[in-house]
Amino acid sequence: MTTREIGTLAATLRAALGDEQVISDRQELRTYECDGLAQYRVVPALVALPRTAEQCAAVVRACAAADVPFVARGSGTGLSGGALPHADGVLIVTSQLRTIKEIAPQDERAVVEPGVINLHVTRAAAPYGYYYAPDPSSQQICSIGGNVAENSGGAHCLKYGFTTNHVTGLQVVTPDGDLVRLGGRAPDAPGYDLVGAFVGSEGTLGIATEVTVRLVRLPETVRTLLAAFRGTDAAGAATSAIIGAGVIPAAVEMMDALAIEAAEAAVHCGYPAGAGAVLIVELDGPASEVEAQFAQVERLCREHGAFEIRIAADETERLLFWKGRKSAFAAVGRISPDYIVQDGVIPRTALPEVLRRIDQLSRERGIRVANVFHAGDGNLHPLVLFDDAVEGQAERAEEVSGAILELCVALGGSITGEHGVGMDKARYMPRMFTDDDLDTMQLLRCAFDPRGLANPGKVFPTPRLCGEVPGRRTGVHPAQAAGLAEVF
């Protein structure tokens, strides 16, 4: 975009939103140059901060009219560069759309704006005995709109599912700038499941401006144990045994020795000395069920070599167990100047093999890898440690990180379990999907955004050219198309 075009668009946006809600100053724009994946930085042409859904739609309409791309951003905590701005585009920040419109425990729903912080939904619902289940580690700062875009998970999605299982309705701004309602409080709205298609589309199908989420009844009991093992093989075997026994814990988390070391250095969580791996296992539900299964979990951990088991006596101790785990990403900063957070998925049963292969990669390339996983569902978060000041280390770390993803795909897993593809992993999509797979996904993109203005360059390595296939008819009678008639 030329300076003049930017000026014209800025004027349009200011007229629609007010002067304060549009940023064009270069220094201020730099604040938004990256999301949680800070190695990629792009300064957007403009930043818009709508306060209402209508304003958000107005921004998108202005972008569409000017043929300018737009990128939505919530709290900017994403780890795949999904909210990386476009240099010639508008960054639409939803942080001022932050009203919890309704907590409706009688419907087991909450209606919130996209800028509402994940944890705030749970806080608002808690007085009624309900909570919002998806709990990404960043839940104190990440926004629901970002969660919807990325289909965020969290430690407890093993039992409760992901964002997509908890969103029942959306109001979205389409890439044309139309406000459309999809789904609602009731389940199973007639027609295609566009709510399901939209959640996890990483901002490429439009922007959510209102989200209706399920609220889940708070469990009667939560029991948490921390089990220390000599190594990850034993911890992995214990995990398989627990799942194999028909127990579905709320969460099963694993950390290896290096991750434990980092966590200790950062938050002094006091995990058992000499542990080569720890498991945090949490069960929740009716007291009678939890007690029976908790005893079983404890026994299975011991049978598979746990040398110390701590049981959280109260909420304080439970939070301490979790503190080490939830701070793990940031904590590795204590033991390494730089690191890459990887996010891959393997079939849970392949865990021991994958860990051996990661260890081998690590030794071959001289790059340390700390491992943190959602062990219950095979979601790995290897933290690849390096020092950018050392010649060649960053490249080798990238190689190791990439090789881990290859491993995930080779074993029938996925290149991302919860962080999303964003711009970071678009190049890996062809390892997991064929050209036809990617082409088919982009049919959906073309339906929503034929001009490719919504978050271009993300998810897909190569955009598909949309538009009607020449010479083809749609076969729909005008009366039918207008919704006036059905044909029998």
């Binding site: 409706a104 419907d107 087991e108 289909n151 998970g153 299982n165 459309v180 999809l182 789904g183 609602g184 009731a186 389940p187 199973d188 007639p190 027609g191 295609y192 499941d193 566009l194 399901g196 298609a197 589309s201 009844r217 469990p219 194999g244 028909g246 579905i248 069920e289 029976a292 998925v345 079939p347 569902d377 095979g378 029938g412 897993g413 996925s414 991302t416 379990g417 919860e418 962080h419 999509m429 997991m432 999907f433 064929t434 036809d436 797979d437 990617l438 082409d439 088919t440 959906l444 993109r445 339906a447 296939v469 008819r473 749609t474 729909v476 039918q480 198309a481 059905e486 044909v487 029998f488």
Partner: protein
């Protein structure tokens, strides 16, 4: 006269399958059961995704309208297709491709019946936690129509359990989405788009599901309710309790009466304790049984009847129920109601002999009540006379986007044309 289209379909089937006797893959549909409202000219029963793709490419080249059939249990649902030249049966696409018990997943071919799948998974103590309201239903048909039953309350529906799909597009291209791990956010979730699409976007040949362990014990706690307000009070009491039901159903048969039934699943001791607590929550004549009532997981209608699905926000269920019982009385119809009061999904049935005019009036009343309760009223199945008289779907939000999706996937509108919302 030689049939060139039949020859082309057979050639495609033969080449892809390598079978010498290619007449068993594609044939003329003369002796086949006829779909409601249309008569296909050709039948195909490919034995693999590749063969299905080849046949569908040939079908595309000859501009054939295609309807996919599995167990043919729901072909009388929704509107009949505007045209159907080829009925593609999944009857030879059967069996489990992979059951990774340790990973609690299974990859299944579309033509596999849910009952067969249950038998295959049972030895491992696992299940696909989807109820099968219609016996004979296949995996593919269940995905295409997204049927569900009482246990949706705990386990969700197809959309929550489907983790990967293989789809043959109307142009014959084969596409996969998702995968075989539960946690996976790579790419668009086309499985959700396909789920409940009534075969209008393509042919599902394989589906990967998240499985659940079979519970060690289960118990049903039943109680009679005096009226909708009483039922609402009971349902709210169970929801507010912490007994974590797998299902919370109400049943209001046409001949009168109203019952609330709670299903509890878990460990033997746990279920026993929760069942006792549930009887206290329900009070009255609440009784525990280890067997479900006879109507469990069945629709409140039979073949040839009118079947409807009514949805509401949870708090709107009592008003919806009241409106339905009022409509029953006012119009003097034997309206039967049943469904998941714990999730806001009710089913309603009327005899197939009910006058179309009367059905239309009842549908209008139910649609108004469901709409006021934040939901919808959809006529799932009905005799031809009723279908011609009533709008099956009612209001559909996002219809224009849906049309655009359909145009992208099926620009020539050849896959089950007219079966879906808005004539899609």
């Amino acid at each position: 006269m030689p049939d060139a289209v039949l020859a082309a379909l057979r050639a495609a089937s033969h080449e892809a399958s390598g079978r010498s006797n290619h007449t068993d893959g594609v044939w003329l549909a003369d002796d086949e059961p006829i779909l409601p409202g249309v008569r296909p000219r050709y039948m195909a029963a490919p034995g693999s995704t590749a063969e299905a793709a080849a046949v569908l490419r040939a079908a595309a080249a000859h501009d054939l309208a295609v309807v996919v059939g599995g167990g043919l249990t729901k072909q009388d649902w929704a509107a009949p297709p505007r045209r159907c030249d080829l009925l593609l049966s999944t009857r030879r696409l059967t069996g489990v491709v992979e059951h990774a018990a340790g990973d609690l997943i299974a990859v299944v071919r579309a033509g596999t019946r849910l009952t067969e799948l249950a038998e295959l998974l049972a030895p491992a103590g696992q299940q696909l936690a989807l109820d099968a309201p219609l016996s004979g239903a296949t995996v593919g048909g269940t995905v295409a129509v997204s049927t569900s039953g009482p246990r949706r309350m705990l386990y969700g529906t197809v959309r929550d359990l489907l983790i990967g799909v293989t789809v043959v597009r109307p142009d014959g291209a084969v596409a996969h989405a998702g995968g075989k791990v539960v946690k996976n956010v790579a790419g668009y979730d086309l499985g959700k788009l396909i789920t409940g699409s009534y075969g209008t976007l393509g042919l599902v040949t394989e589906a990967a599901f998240r499985l659940h362990p079979c519970p060690a014990a289960s118990a049903y706690v039943s109680r009679r309710a005096a009226d909708p307000a009483d039922a609402a009070r009971l349902v709210a009491g169970v929801l507010a309790g912490q007994v974590v039901p797998s299902a919370l159903e109400i049943d209001a048969p046409a001949e009168g009466g109203l019952a609330v039934v709670v299903l509890l699943e878990g460990t033997a001791n746990g279920v026993a304790g929760r069942a006792v607590r549930t009887t206290r929550l329900l009070g009255g004549d609440a009784a525990i049984s280890d067997a479900p009532p006879g109507w469990w997981s069945a629709y409140p209608w039979g073949p040839g009847d009118v079947g409807m699905k009514l949805t509401a926000a949870l708090s709107g269920v009592p008003a919806l129920l009241t409106a339905a019982l009022t409509a029953r009385r006012q119009h003097g119809v034997p309206l039967a109601l049943r469904g998941s009061a714990g999730t806001g999904v009710l089913y309603a049935g009327l005899p197939g002999t009910t006058r179309a005019e009367t059905v239309a009036v009842v549908v209008d009343a139910l649609r108004a009540a469901a709409g006021a309760a934040g939901g919808h009223a959809v006529v799932l199945t009905a005799p031809a006379a009723v279908r011609e008289r009533v709008d099956l779907w009612g209001p559909v939000e996002g219809l224009e986007l849906m049309r655009r999706v359909k145009r992208q996937f099926d620009p020539d509108a050849r896959f089950a044309p007219g079966r879906f919302v808005g004539g899609i």
